[in-house]
Subunit: 257 residues, 2 copies
């Protein structure tokens, strides 16, 4: 990817992991609702765009000339109210895909979420499904079952992505991101350990989404955890994802064994 890559929601947790991990490997442009406290290292101030992600004009300016968009912007709160996710996440994601398609961008990588499928974690499957001896797996082909309205908005973003994939030249990857934490997996939280995504695996996965050749994909974004109920087979096969971390490598206190 020689063309610039736009990162929306650049100041959020996923954006931080991606920028920290990939750094100057890409010619980044950043888009966010608020200006960053300081411009990240290696990024020119003129590549920082500030605007609401539903503002098609602001997006047009930021997207013009980029080869790919990594779309992370949106209200990230699992308990976000409907009005906020309707605006920021659903309309915002539509705006990004619409402008990216119109501007002839090659690829949009969309940050979906485990919350798009959280209601598969039923009372009769949990906590067993979070454990290493359980073989229940979601693989990305299942229809959405959101755990909250944030999850509804993320599942809708996938539908929007599918629509634009089928009706434009865009390649689209939707990454159902697990539990991203820095340094070590969540402590005393089986579910979080099962869907842990380390910072370096997160950066690597988004890198693969920018490098690999595909059409439309829905993949799970977790590390290679012993505990898991999301399959990462599709991400390995299509994207060349090779995670290096595993929540089982850490003690219950978060120390590396």
């Amino acid at each position: 990817m020689d063309d610039p890559v736009l990162l929306t929601g650049a100041g959020g947790r996923v954006g931080t992991a991606v920028l920290d991990g990939l750094g100057t490997a890409y010619d980044w442009r950043l888009f966010d609702l608020e200006p960053p406290a300081s411009t990240p290292a290696g990024i020119d101030e003129t590549d920082v765009y500030v605007g609401d992600v539903t503002d098609r004009e602001a997006l047009r300016e930021a997207i013009s000339g980029v080869g790919a968009v990594v779309h992370l912007a949106g209200d990230p709160r699992p308990k976000a109210p409907w009005d906020s996710v309707l605006h920021n996440n659903i309309d915002g994601t539509h705006a990004v895909f619409e402008v990216a398609a119109e501007q002839g961008v090659d690829t949009v990588v969309f940050a979906s979420s485990n919350h798009a499928v959280g209601a598969f974690e039923t009372d009769d499957r949990t906590p067993e499904m979070y454990r290493t001896d359980d073989d229940y797996r979601l693989d990305g082909t299942e229809p959405a079952r959101p755990s909250n309205e944030y999850g509804v908005s993320k599942a809708t973003g996938e539908v929007i992505g599918r629509y634009f994939y089928d009706h434009s030249e865009l390649s689209v990857a939707c990454v159902r991101i697990g539990n991203l934490t820095e340094g070590h997996p969540p402590i005393e939280y089986e579910r979080g350990q099962a869907m842990w995504l380390s910072h370096r695996d997160c950066a690597h996965l988004f890198d693969r989404c920018l490098q690999a050749d595909y059409g439309f994909e829905v993949v799970y974004g977790i590390s290679d955890n012993d505990r898991k109920y999301y399959s990462i087979d599709r991400a390995r096969e299509v994207l060349g994802y090779e995670p290096r971390d595993n929540s089982a490598a850490y003690t219950f206190d978060g120390e590396r064994k």
Copy 2:
């Protein structure tokens, strides 16, 4: 269903087919953006509610005390612009499910659409998939592939329905309605003949959605056409749907053979 049943979008094409076919079998309440030109036969004027389907307060009044909601309201145009379907179809459907769940309604039947999956009709499958000797079938388990932004909004309505099914006491049926026409199937339109839904089969299918016992279902709403690429097996099995019409019973001119 002894309790009243609210029909949103009552004045539209599907609402007309349902009211014509089921008449006084239910204690109807009607909800629509505009008052009806005349109150349909057998319905009391006090059971006619006028409001925007995103107006939670207006919905609360109409839904209070009903046993079921048949939710048809929305912008019905396949080419409707995003802003309209975002408001009328996505936010409107969320409002209906939200208020229905809050009010302890038993069942919401949601009018989804063939446009939620229209992009399965790819160039390499058509027109063969519209013909009787082709065995390609969609069965309702496939993730959405919308053909337009109206279809995105309908697929999103299904996701919203799934969310409320998993998080409330509601039973939810999503009916991906085919090509509803009165009298005879579309003429010289293979696709329309393959997804034809006659008025009486439409009324019968919504009747079954109100009578049958189920949790969450996505079914196709078409007659028992010889030409088909939607399976109606699930509607038969779970809902007891027994369609009586078949587009093959009509000549190319629309006469019954």
